[in-house]
């Protein structure tokens, strides 16, 4: 169902809105610096005369399944069937404020807000029903949105009928959400709400939205980061029929009714640049990072490193390296902006429509009520669409041109302007005591960030430090281009190092890597996921390298615990690594939509193979050398292993995030399996065939 059908179906054009619009629901005149979630349930829920529930959330759907999982939570608390909940997401006019869709927060952090709103709405509806049916609330029951008197099923009224024609001002305090034991929908596989639209091609993405008269804009980009524009000549482009050239400060754009027309015109723009002052490349970057990174911040310390070092009888130091990695969503960044009667409406491929609205307000000097951001379906985000620069470009151009303007990044622009996962270095120092236990542990991460740098193991003498990271606060020139969040930011880098190092220590102790981990673990949930994974995988204890090509790795990512095991084969001649199968056991608390959670795990494993084995952005002197999928290699069908996902039943823990955890183990998991197969320890990601061959030679 597209947006218009949705609005028709739920009657949002005034046919049924019987709840009063709360103040928080309408456009705030002066929004707070960082607004919170509105308290009024009317902001999230509206019930039509047909009993259908309109659910309004500021989150967006980018493939992760939030549309379905959030609908399930609302349906559960309201006691209505899932198919009677219609989701409207990511529209700053219609939806309550939200910070953005990232960090696996939708279910974990926003889920309780939505559940609370739905539970309160249900309680209010029950009170209304009690008045209507002349029976106390305690005697009422709800099934599929119909309230009836227990023991007198003919005395009944539907939500739609109850709400019709009334203005409900009523609110109730301290309404409890359902206990897990009473769930009838949450925890069962549910079909995705976006399914039919996606298999029929009717799902609308930002590039598919074309208001009448839209011009397509292509912008002039420098050939390298840091290259300064010296001169520009647009006369050849202007000779093409239908082409308009617009300049606004640093912005040079060619516009045409057709995207291919605009692209052709851009090809005729002649520009000269001062070369980029950047001198680093993808090989020298690591030394550069160590030199330029800010001073260390202590993240955790326990015991005393000197004491631990004195206990060590064997030591192991290593430096782990990660290159820059691109988000490479299949949908390039896109936005279309319409400036109409003093109002700017922007349809944008962004993970954070409210954040973007704030940026538009500021950049264009408009009032909040003059800007609306609408987020259609997103063709993948992975942290790369936290911002949406083309939205700002399109909005500026739409104001100048006086017609709607669409800006769609080409794949080349996507690779040039992406906010890459930062290249990073992790220095690990550790030692074993005479009993084969970790005597001391020092983890120092440079340029990646703090997340999951801390060890999941019970280590008496340890120091964890971090210097710089994806969140900012870096000295100028640390990175030659933009960096940012990438699915489980920093965690992939930190866990690659720490779980590789634990594995190397196990080999040093001549112990089975699984047993070595268990020996250092106290957290029963972590022990649990490891044991469940081992059983499903068929793990039998053997010290590495066993020649079997078995790997193990585990992580605690924002309280979702994950253990993974893999089997690989390494071709000694070509250096190719074939991942044959991966087993993942995940404890994420209550699982809202198990099938959706499994899809996320499978996505994490598959995407993770890319940064483990093939993905790395190559660059030199500010120029990004990988410009498309011919040289930037993301995983393809032939590389995908068998994936088995086991979700631990843990009703005692509220639902945690599931979009990221399994990806954080993938680097170490494959590195450990390669070590087990052929006895080489690769310290740098990605583990390309060239690097495997080189290590085998050494």
């Amino acid at each position: 169902m597209n947006r218009r059908d949705f609005l028709k179906a739920t009657g949002a054009f005034g046919l049924f809105v019987t709840f009063p619009l709360s103040a928080s629901f309408q456009e705030p005149e002066k929004p707070a610096e960082r607004p919170g979630y509105p308290k009024d349930f009317n902001a999230y829920l509206r019930i039509g005369p047909d009993g259908r529930v309109g659910c309004f959330v500021g989150k967006i759907e980018m493939g992760q399944g939030a549309m379905t999982a959030l609908a399930m939570l609302a349906a559960e608390e309201l006691d209505v069937p899932l198919e009677r909940v219609d989701m409207l997401m990511g529209d700053t006019d219609l939806c309550p404020w939200d910070q953005g869709t990232w960090g696996s927060l939708s279910v974990w952090q926003f889920g309780p807000v939505l559940r609370g709103a739905a539970a309160e709405a249900r309680a209010v509806l029950l009170q209304l029903a009690a008045e209507r049916l002349g029976a106390p609330v305690e005697r009422l029951q709800v099934q599929a949105g119909i309230v009836s008197v227990t023991g007198a099923p003919t005395r009944r009224v539907g939500y739609g009928e109850l709400v019709q024609g009334q203005r409900i001002e009523k609110h109730l305090a301290d309404v409890k959400v359902k206990p897990v034991s009473q769930f009838t929908q949450v925890g069962k596989d549910a079909p995705r709400k976006d399914g039919r639209a996606k298999v029929t091609g009717t799902a609308k993405f930002a590039a598919d939205i074309l208001p009448a008269g839209t011009l397509q804009a292509c912008l002039l980009r420098p050939p390298a980061h840091g290259a300064k524009l010296l001169s520009v000549d647009t006369s050849d482009a202007e000779k093409l029929p239908g082409v308009r050239v617009l300049r606004d400060g640093d912005l040079v754009a060619v516009l045409h009714a057709r995207p291919d027309g605009a692209r052709e015109a851009l090809g005729r723009v002649k520009a000269t640049y001062q070369p980029s002052p950047s001198t680093v490349d993808d090989k020298s970057i690591f030394e550069h990072l160590l030199k330029v990174a800010p001073p260390a911040r202590e993240l955790a310390a326990k015991g005393s490193l000197p004491v631990g070092e004195a206990l060590a009888v064997r030591r192991l130091d290593a430096t782990y390296l990660n290159g820059y990695v691109a988000h490479a969503p299949m949908e390039p960044h896109t936005a279309v902006a319409q400036w109409d009667k003093g109002r700017m409406t922007v349809w944008a491929s962004t993970q954070a429509p409210f954040l973007l609205k704030g940026q538009l307000v500021q950049a264009l000097g408009l009032k909040p009520k003059e800007v609306r951001v609408i987020t259609p379906y997103l063709g993948g985000g992975f942290g790369g669409k936290g911002g949406c620069p083309p939205a700002l470009e399109a909005a500026r151009l739409a104001k100048l041109a006086g017609v709607p303007v669409q800006v769609t990044w080409s794949r080349q622009e996507e690779f040039f302007l992406d906010t890459f996962r930062p290249a990073a270095v992790v220095k690990l120092r550790a030692g074993l005591d005479k009993d084969g236990r970790v005597a001391f542990w020092e983890h120092h991460v440079y340029a990646a960030g703090d997340q999951e740098a801390q060890s999941v193991y019970d280590l008496p003498h340890q120091l964890i430090q971090s210097s710089g990271g994806w969140m900012g606060g870096n000295p100028p020139g640390l990175h030659p281009f933009a960096i940012g969040a990438w699915r489980a930011p920093a965690a992939n880098t930190n866990v690659h190092a720490s779980e590789s190092h634990m594995d190397a220590l196990a080999a040093l102790a001549k112990m089975d890597p699984m047993e070595f981990r268990l020996k250092h673990l106290k957290n029963p949930r972590m022990i649990g996921v490891l044991q469940v994974a081992a059983k499903a995988f068929g793990w039998t204890p053997k010290a590495g390298p066993s020649g079997r090509g078995f790997g193990v790795a585990c992580a605690d990512h924002r309280d979702t615990l994950v253990a993974a095991m893999a089997e690989v084969a390494v071709d000694r001649k070509t250096g190719q690594v074939k991942v044959k199968r991966v087993v993942v056991a995940q404890d994420m608390g209550v699982v809202v939509n198990p099938d959706g959670a499994r899809q996320q795990v499978e996505g994490c494993v598959t995407m993770g193979l890319g940064y483990a084995l093939s993905e790395e952005v190559r660059f030199k002197n500010g120029k990004v050398l990988d410009e498309n999928f011919d040289t930037y290699q993301i995983p393809r069908f032939a590389q995908v292993p068998k994936i088995q996902t086991i979700l631990i039943d843990n009703p005692d823990l509220p639902a945690q995030g599931g979009g990221e955890p399994a990806i954080v183990v993938m680097g170490a998991l494959i590195a450990n399996a390669i070590h087990d197969a052929v006895g080489i320890r690769l310290l740098q990601l990605p583990m390309t065939p060239e690097r495997v061959k080189e290590a085998l030679k050494a």
């Binding site: 493939g63 079909p191 299949m330 063709g379 794949r411 999928f629 011919d630 069908f637 995908v640």
Partner: protein, 157 residues
Amino acid sequence: MAKTVSFNLNGRKVSIEADGTRMLAYVLRGDLGLTGTKIGCGEGLCGACTVLVDGEAVRSCSTPLSAVAGKAVTTIEGLELDGALHPVQEAFLSHGAYQCGFCTPGMILSTVALLQKTPKPDRQRVAEALDGNLCRCGAHVRILAAVEAAAGKGGAR
């Protein structure tokens, strides 16, 4: 230069006044309003723009309009028959063989082309046929299962 190019689009004859060197994807999306065909890379490297030309899967972002003159073009919009999904669409739907959905139309059309030629492909044949269709979300294992299920149910409609 603009001239009339005629072809069969999803079972209906269309004639369009356009420069024959323009790439089909832009004509389908812009001139003909069929936005189910996606553009992901613009150079025939990602498969999101896959359509069928006389039953063959082609990359419409790098197929000139003139190359489809007199031929039959099928886009994702042309697979549904009288409200009934194509068996391949059904299989993708029931297997959850999509996440963000941007690559999905191209995946489905590549699968339709495969199953028309090879009604019962083994997994290696499927992986080869879909090698040029990229998915970033990692729906691959579901897509493979969907293709196999569609093959079992006569996905070669």
